[in-house]
Assembly symmetry: C2
Homo-oligomer: 366 residues x 2
Amino acid sequence: MIDIVKPTLLLDEGKVRRNIDRMVSKAEKAGVQLRPHFKTHQSQEIGRWFRERGINQITVSSLDMASYFAADGWDDILVDFPVNLRQMDTINALAAQITLGLLVESVETAVALNNQLTHPVQVWLKIDVGYGRTGIPYNDAETLGKLARAIAAAPKLELIGILTHSGHTYSAASPHKIVTLYHESVVRLNTARYRLQDEGHHVLVSIGDTPGCSLTGSFGQVDEIRPGNFVFYDLMQHQLGACAADDIAVAVACPIVAKHEMDQRVIIYGGAVHLSKDMVMLDGQVCYGLIALPDGDGWGVLRYDAMLVSLSQEHGLLRVHPILFDQLQVGDVLMVLPVHSCLTADLYGRYHTLTGQEISKMRTNS
Amino acid sequence: MIDIVKPTLLLDEGKVRRNIDRMVSKAEKAGVQLRPHFKTHQSQEIGRWFRERGINQITVSSLDMASYFAADGWDDILVDFPVNLRQMDTINALAAQITLGLLVESVETAVALNNQLTHPVQVWLKIDVGYGRTGIPYNDAETLGKLARAIAAAPKLELIGILTHSGHTYSAASPHKIVTLYHESVVRLNTARYRLQDEGHHVLVSIGDTPGCSLTGSFGQVDEIRPGNFVFYDLMQHQLGACAADDIAVAVACPIVAKHEMDQRVIIYGGAVHLSKDMVMLDGQVCYGLIALPDGDGWGVLRYDAMLVSLSQEHGLLRVHPILFDQLQVGDVLMVLPVHSCLTADLYGRYHTLTGQEISKMRTNS
């Protein structure tokens, strides 16, 4: 194992490549386009592992992320985020260079965008199929029609498709329910598609969420899928049944700094600034992470005899079963499997592979 | 106002200096040493504002942070975190250069530390006065005595004091309860102090938490206080009654990217990676932040007619009262007052002052 002195973001390259391979094969077999979301890894180098598997279209969640990947040769990028009109300079620079996809969800934005663009862009309509975060309700034919006509009338905007993020699969109670929601989303997207088709607008249909795309046996009537988290997976996905524990491809290595015999508490150097404060409920308790023990160059099986029950800025507090407690010593390293790998990875500037290589990534905030 | 194109961490220098001044004056008046915790701001430049007010001893939460501030001339630094034996190189480099204070809570750590040190350090015992995160229970005279003797026998360790972080004030139900807990902590620390004194160990008593230090009228029988968050404060502190809304000195400026008439939702460019996922309960609802509107070069009063109810990686979803909803437009900027300023600031590499200056800070993870 590489020498750990403080909280370190580890990446198991073999698992990452296996996760990529599985989703690429599944999409190929189903004949749907895979446009993976790169917000989870945010790394040019990991992006190249997708390119090696034939991927040439990607999704990102910010214009800065689009610029970062465009600089590495990606020339078809969808920014899966409502257009931020305050970044027109970045939009124009990207539109001059690549095939840029943008999300539009109001006539005002479509008009303002068209007026300020110096190069054409592809436009996607964000559809709300029930998640309620953002987008046009799938059954609001009037708004959809109005917006499609406004885009058709805007010479710099090409209406290419409609998309959704079925984020409500994350609160589904079972894998069966996730798949049901996935197919409900597909049906609703197609409701919107045919409404637009009736008015002469032919659009692609794109869907994207890791639980649905991982668990569904068939993708249904969609042209494109945009999952992202599957590259690493995490405890939340595992809890949803979307991955095996062994598919989780990142962990934060954390030194043990204190032990308290009385109530089997173990304190690790690893807090909110190393893991993020996202949590899952486990047996009615708030859980900020589970652990594995170091094993060879990586980590072993997911342990249920310890749970990260509290996070301060730099500390993590584990409740540990007495048998495991006796095995752990101050100075040992524990591997924390993150609740939400996107947010954990976002906290770091690089990954460390199990073979000792460093993989750089972008940072969200300068 | 400075030009905002994407989520930007703003700092009101006037408020920061006022917050510093208030705590410095309070400590001076009470005759206690103020050793402010610098984990909240993590900035050499802001550290100098404390130095201008006569502060010459500081607290940090990691050895990296100690190195960062030592590089700016701070020569008396307490690392308020259990010793991480895996960073002995950093410990020895710091101990050679400055007066370094370390936390020890077990005989094993004291022995290992002494064996590996090349220069002497000051040692503080972390006392648990009821928070239950880490530390030796204040009334465990046997463990305390054993540890004090082990330290006395270690030539490189000087037992200087006992300290606590009364983090349980954060879950107190009222300002009155916070002050009661503060004084209970002081009494318990002194219980430990006198136990040690009976065995011939004379120690300083140090206490630190922003709610307690902000709200108490008198500090009681302590030698030193170590609050940190008060430099910026935040919604959590405001909710506890530890500060006025107008004392909150940082905000994240976020562009509005979408509006949804139907249920008065406003979507901002500002998510978990810009704000952190810490939350408070407000009227029985999970709240990830409240807003203020831009006002002059800064922001106006705290608004209760909008609430950040959900955060994705890059999105924030606000529920907004209809009257305010009509006033807000896509492209406008909202100021989000953070729930927990320590975690929010940690996500950024710099602050932007209201007069357009950039203030650099360290980053936790490389």
